[in-house]
């Protein structure tokens, strides 16, 4: 997996690191289209702990480990901090719970659920049928939903599902458990900025490149709002406000790079 001594490469890697009593274990994972393993980056980990107090953990896609798992999208974690720099806020919807929530309205076929999801949340990021069916299978396994025999739906799936009481409790918990605020405080971009300064690289350019990417995404979302219905407009606004917060951080950090570099050098 490339140069294991490079913190920068480490940060860009698609590996999951797990603290394990000072040891680093290798774990195969799936995140979007990225697969990978890592053999251990003790130096990098030490460095990251020094500056960030944690190591980054990429997300695992559509909840492979159960319904309480991470959210969809190419989203990274640094320690317990979740950030959306890769995704530039393409809806951090918990797909599994959103599907369960949709199912709690009335029994549905997988095919219909997928289309309901896409209608409400899938702007620019529709769910794959495979994801829906594998999620439904996991929810059946976890007894959050049950299959209702062999009625024919409007698509290829012939199973109709209904939510169980345990599933309803899960949806209720999800709805009323607030998301962690300020989760992007320690972001991948923050890590990149620090690493660039440590490597004496052009952190200003890095921030400019990211600013440009953010602005491009903001223009896309702004265009999407035109002629969209109110629900889509509100989703776009959610993304826009979050990206804007990142941009403010980028501007402020850009103005403090010299000071930050001095502090890093003396740390």
């Amino acid at each position: 997996m490339g140069d294991s001594s490079s913190p920068a490469l480490f940060l860009q890697s698609s590996a999951r690191l797990e603290p394990d009593g000072g040891q680093l274990r290798t774990r195969r994972f799936h995140s979007g289209n990225r697969h990978g393993t890592v053999e251990g980056y003790a130096e990098s980990k030490k460095l990251l702990r020094k500056f960030f107090g944690a190591v980054p953990v990429p997300d695992q896609g559509l909840d492979p480990g159960g319904i309480t798992g991470p959210r969809h999208g190419r989203i990274c974690h640094i320690g317990s901090w979740r950030c959306g720099m890769h995704s530039v806020y393409r809806w951090g919807v918990n797909n599994s719970l959103a599907l369960l929530g949709l199912l709690s309205r009335q029994p549905s076929y997988g095919y219909d659920l997928k289309h309901s999801y896409d209608r409400y949340f899938g702007t620019g990021k529709a769910l794959a049928f495979g994801q829906v069916y594998s999620t439904l299978a996991r929810m059946v396994r976890d007894e959050l939903i049950r299959a209702l025999g062999g009625e024919t739906g409007s698509g290829p799936d012939r199973k109709k599902y209904e939510i169980t009481s345990a599933g309803q409790v899960k949806v209720h918990e999800w709805l009323f458990t607030p998301d962690v605020p300020s989760e992007s405080l320690q972001s991948n971009l923050f890590a990149k900025t620090v690493i660039a300064l440590l490597l004496d690289d052009d952190a200003d350019r890095l921030l400019d490149v990211q600013r440009s990417e953010h602005m491009t995404r903001m223009r896309e979302l702004t265009r999407l709002k035109k002629d969209a219905d109110l629900m889509q407009v509100l989703m776009c606004d959610h993304g826009l406000f979050h990206i804007e917060a990142d941009l403010r951080w980028i501007d402020l950090t850009g103005a403090r790079l010299t000071q930050l570099k001095k502090e890093l050098q003396s740390a």
């Binding site: 350019r205 602005m215 903001m218 702004t222 035109k226 826009l240 501007d251 103005a255």
Partner: protein, 237 residues
């Protein structure tokens, strides 16, 4: 890196320098504004954004460098070399302006405020009022023409200011924080209407903003830092 050609630019600045006393506001800016584009000018406070806009609009004459305006169907002119009367005339006939706080005349009704550029350019009053009322209606201000600025909400007043800036069909609209004093929803309404009108008319827009959501309505943005343009922007020849 966006590389901009001068061939289709309506405004070109080359080597712009300007100082206020010992303070250098512009330090050699090169910038081309394409015909019909909406350009956002961003940057920290005191970076030189407003000075740049004032030089482009012929409000200020830069200490050094040049600004060339290329009107459709007329010969290009170096506005930075024109005297104040000619620049004033150009601002009246070819340019429109929107400011952060509207700057409406409080003694005049909304319709009269909008009519001002037309009246100053010699349009007869009935015709000026007809066009003003029509534009106010396009901006969702039906029946508001007789109101005084003090009787309007912030969003309504800013829409009147937009109407005043656009009523004379300017080739270039200069906007300095056009929604800076409005809340999110009012700001969005004003911007949506403004952009709809300028896209329809093919008006070029140079818009200063601190707000990234406002800048996202533009086709592209440039960042002004310490009197220069930030990385990622370069002009050709």
């Amino acid at each position: 890196m966006s590389t901009i050609s001068t061939t289709s630019s309506v405004l070109s600045a080359r080597g712009l320098h300007h100082s206020f006393g010992q303070t250098k506001a512009l330090r050699g800016i090169d910038l081309d504004v394409q015909r019909g584009e909406v350009l956002a000018v961003m940057g920290p406070s005191g970076s030189g954004k407003s000075t740049l806009l004032h030089c482009l609009a012929g409000v200020l004459v830069p200490d050094g460098g040049s600004v060339t305006y290329r009107p459709a169907g007329r010969s290009p002119m170096e506005t930075s070399a024109l005297g104040e009367p000619k620049r004033a005339r150009l601002r009246l006939t070819d340019f429109g302006f929107v400011f952060q706080f509207g700057q409406l005349l409080p003694e005049l009704t909304a319709a009269d405020n909008v009519s001002l550029p037309l009246l100053l350019a010699g349009t007869r009053r009935p015709e000026a009022l007809r066009r003003s009322t029509e534009l106010l209606e396009r901006l969702g201000l039906n029946g508001m023409g007789t109101k005084l600025p003090g009787e309007l909400s912030g969003g309504q007043a800013q829409r009147v200011a937009v109407a005043r800036a656009l009523v004379a069909s300017p080739a270039v609209l200069f906007a300095d924080e056009p929604t800076g004093s409005l809340d999110s929803l009012a700001s969005e309404n004003v911007l949506t209407l403004l952009l709809e009108l300028v896209r329809e008319a093919g008006t070029t827009v140079v818009m200063i903003t601190h707000d990234a959501r406002t800048a996202a309505y533009a086709d592209r943005e440039v960042i002004v830092r310490d009197g220069g343009l930030g990385a990622g922007y370069r002009v050709t020849a």
